[in-house]
Amino acid sequence: MNTPTNCESCAMHNKANLVKLGINLDEVDYVIAMAGNPNTGKSTVFNNLTGLRQHTGNWPGKTVTRAEGGFVFNDKRYKMVDLPGTYSLLSTSTDEEVARNFILFGQPDVTVIVVDATRLERNLNLVLQILEITDRAVLCLNLMDEAKRNNLEIDVRVLSKELGIPVIPASARRRQGMTELLQAVEEVATGKYVCRPHKIKGRSAKLNNAISKLENSLAKQFPNLTNTKWVALRLLEGDDSIIEAVRTGDLGSISAGESGIQA
């Protein structure tokens, strides 16, 4: 991980490179999704970067629909989508489906996963699930100020190595770590940083076998599908909305960059 120099972490530097666009979303270069558990500060990060004022509060479930905003960083235009906070991607409430369908069908260029540094273990459950769907992600280790206040120390380098994606410590409420986050997002979006996302261990050979069989037939039917493994697993688990997407062929339309299943 690159340690930020004094210059980079200074507010002037940030101002020079970041232009907040609010809801002006014409001709974007990259689409960024923001996911994470409820109440980890996604909306605060979102507001910091886009200059919008989504309502924030210490209250899980504040964002129930997705909010969109934009910014320019190093001459590239980004569209940012703030997804509702969820504990997992496996259940079927409206807010979880909004989040899942966007990551799956909206095919964002980078997914920023915001986690609560003081509750890392629980948050990692969602992170691992997201990393099964997408392989371009950045972890924003938010609420570092709270972690410090509670005497928690987190080894950022090891965490980044384990997850295979950039990890950026931040305190969004104090606007700390935002420039570093943007740089990491840029590196992943442009392909300068290639993620090697953690894959779940401990699955039986029988399961892996069944998954790869299904993956093969999925890849044949839906040549543009990038996350065949995850879709295969969901089919095995009998996920109704994914079964429906396969049945109607909607799963194939994601190649056009449109969301096949409406939130």
């Binding site: 209250w59 409430s93 080894d155 965490l159 953690h198 089919l235 095995l236 688990e237 062929g249």
Partner: protein, 477 residues
């Protein structure tokens, strides 16, 4: 996709089905387990606790108190009462100041200017006595309490208190056959019912979500707090000694709010036992860590985002309503104005329920925004009781300098403690505002449930007012 045939797609699904059987029943659990074990392994490698003090020792202690079986609810009511008391006590002076500027000073000035440029009387009536006065009234009455109430409420929210409220309420909602998260949407409704209805999306089951949407109207919203606060101050606070008046009125408002929660539970229970039958589903509610709020940031965002936003909405609705009020008060058929016709016609019906024709007409005019109920009532009362020397003539909404003056007007108009009490009850139990009704339709996509959400509270309101009146008269108070 062109190459994808229906047949091939079905084949994939069949293959998945067969494989699922082969993998066995515990397969879903092992998938979840492997995620959890990986997560805990990574966490163990990366997180270290410095020192020997347990993290969150303070948080846990506070939680034990605020969610305790015995202290949880009393503390909740006490905090709520404190917020209202600060709002009532703090808003009085700035409200008076605003009204003296906007109404006592600016209104005559505008009228003079209108005369000076020879504006026709009906035009200056509609624009200045109708539209301007309605807007001015809304600003004078609503801005100060909102500017105090919202930041206080937002501070509680940022601190992390609201999830604890939900935690306390969860058991009650579950017993009513509703989702525990309804406690959260209910709290949102205390700010704005339309927002509360949208927030019901956090509830997975359609049945429970519908219950949460239908009952959200029982949370007193912003538009109704000022009505409650004012009527409580006039009729209930005035019965206590001046030192205690503020506390007593705050207590009365809390009483109505609690009654709203009670109705929310009872109606949820009724629905889940009849048309929306079913069991309550389980869920996890995370109690987030307490976070010291960033005071200045909170003040700024709650003032700009909430206060100005709500105020703006109120003004937008008040302007056309002001025009309507002026028109119904000034368009005459024969000797009587339209307003007087309606009031005379509906009075017997309304009095039966312990209300009066003025209140009914005011609620009809105020369907777009509850915020303008009180000014409308005052204006119509003056008009129908033909009081001389108060206000600015027919159809002019006026501001009275003190609550004592308002009390005088209402008492001359035949209001009693019972009318005041019934108005508070009716303000809690009546149809949602038009924005909320529209939001309910958008969220449920069902005309039937929108109608239910609209008419159920109003029927309930009439029933409750009727029984209150009967009891009142039975005991001869």
């Amino acid at each position: 996709m062109d190459k994808t045939t229906h047949h091939n797609r079905e084949e994939i699904l069949t293959a998945a089905n067969t494989a699922r059987w082969e993998l066995g029943l515990d397969f879903h659990d092992t998938v979840i387990e492997s995620i959890y074990s990986d997560a805990s392994q990574i966490a163990r490698k990366t997180v270290k606790l410095k020192g020997d003090k347990e993290a969150y020792a303070t948080d846990i202690t506070i939680d034990k108190i605020v969610t305790s079986r015995w202290l949880g609810f009393p503390l909740m009511f006490l905090l709520l009462a404190l917020v209202f008391w600060l709002t009532i006590a703090g808003a009085n002076y700035p409200s008076g100041l605003l009204s003296s500027v906007l109404i006592d000073y600016l209104h005559p000035l505008l009228k003079q200017a209108a005369t000076f440029i020879h504006m026709p009387w009906w035009m200056s009536g509609i624009l200045i006595d109708g539209a301007y006065m309605a807007a001015a009234w809304v600003i004078a009455v609503m801005l100060p309490p909102m500017a105090i109430f919202f930041p206080l409420f937002t501070l509680l929210e940022d601190l992390g208190y609201l999830p604890r409220v939900a935690f306390n309420m969860d058991n009650l909602f579950r017993k009513a056959g509703a989702h525990g998260k309804q406690a959260l949407t209910m709290s949102m409704g205390f700010g704005c019912n339309a927002a509360g209805v949208v927030a019901a999306r956090v509830i997975d089951s359609p049945r429970e979500r519908l219950i949460a949407i239908i009952t959200n109207n029982f949370s007193l919203c912003n538009g109704r707090w000022p009505t409650q606060i004012l009527i409580a101050t006039i009729f209930i606070g005035s019965m206590a000694s001046p030192q205690l008046a503020g506390v007593v009125s705050a207590g009365a408002v809390v009483g109505i709010a609690v009654l709203g929660i009670f109705f929310s539970l009872v109606v949820s229970w009724g629905l889940s036992k009849t048309v929306l039958r079913g069991e309550a589903s389980a869920f996890t509610l995370e109690l987030p860590p307490y976070r010291p709020p960033r005071i200045w940031q909170t003040l700024y965002t709650s003032l700009i985002d909430r206060t100005i936003f709500v105020l703006w909405r109120a003004i937008i609705f008040a302007v056309p309503a002001g025009i309507v009020i002026w028109l119904v008060a000034n368009v005459h058929i024969g000797d009587l104005s339209l307003a007087e016709y309606f009031i005379n016609w509906s009075d017997p019906f309304a009095l039966f329920f312990g209300l009066n024709g003025v209140i009914l007409l005011a609620y009809i005019i105020a369907i777009p925004a509850n915020e303008i109920v009180i000014p409308t009532i005052l204006m119509l009362t003056v008009l129908s009781s033909k009081m001389a020397g108060v206000g600015g003539g027919s159809g002019v909404m006026f501001e009275l300098d003190s609550t004592a003056d308002i009390a005088g007007v209402l008492q001359t108009g035949g209001w009693t403690l019972l009318t005041g009490l019934n108005l508070m009850l009716f303000s809690l139990l009546h149809n949602p505002c038009s924005t909320t009704i529209y939001t309910i339709y958008k969220e449920t996509k069902s005309l039937k449930w929108t109608m239910v959400s609209t008419f159920l509270p109003i029927v309930l309101g009439f029933v409750i007012c009727f029984f209150t009146t009967q009891l009142w008269q039975f005991f001869g108070w």
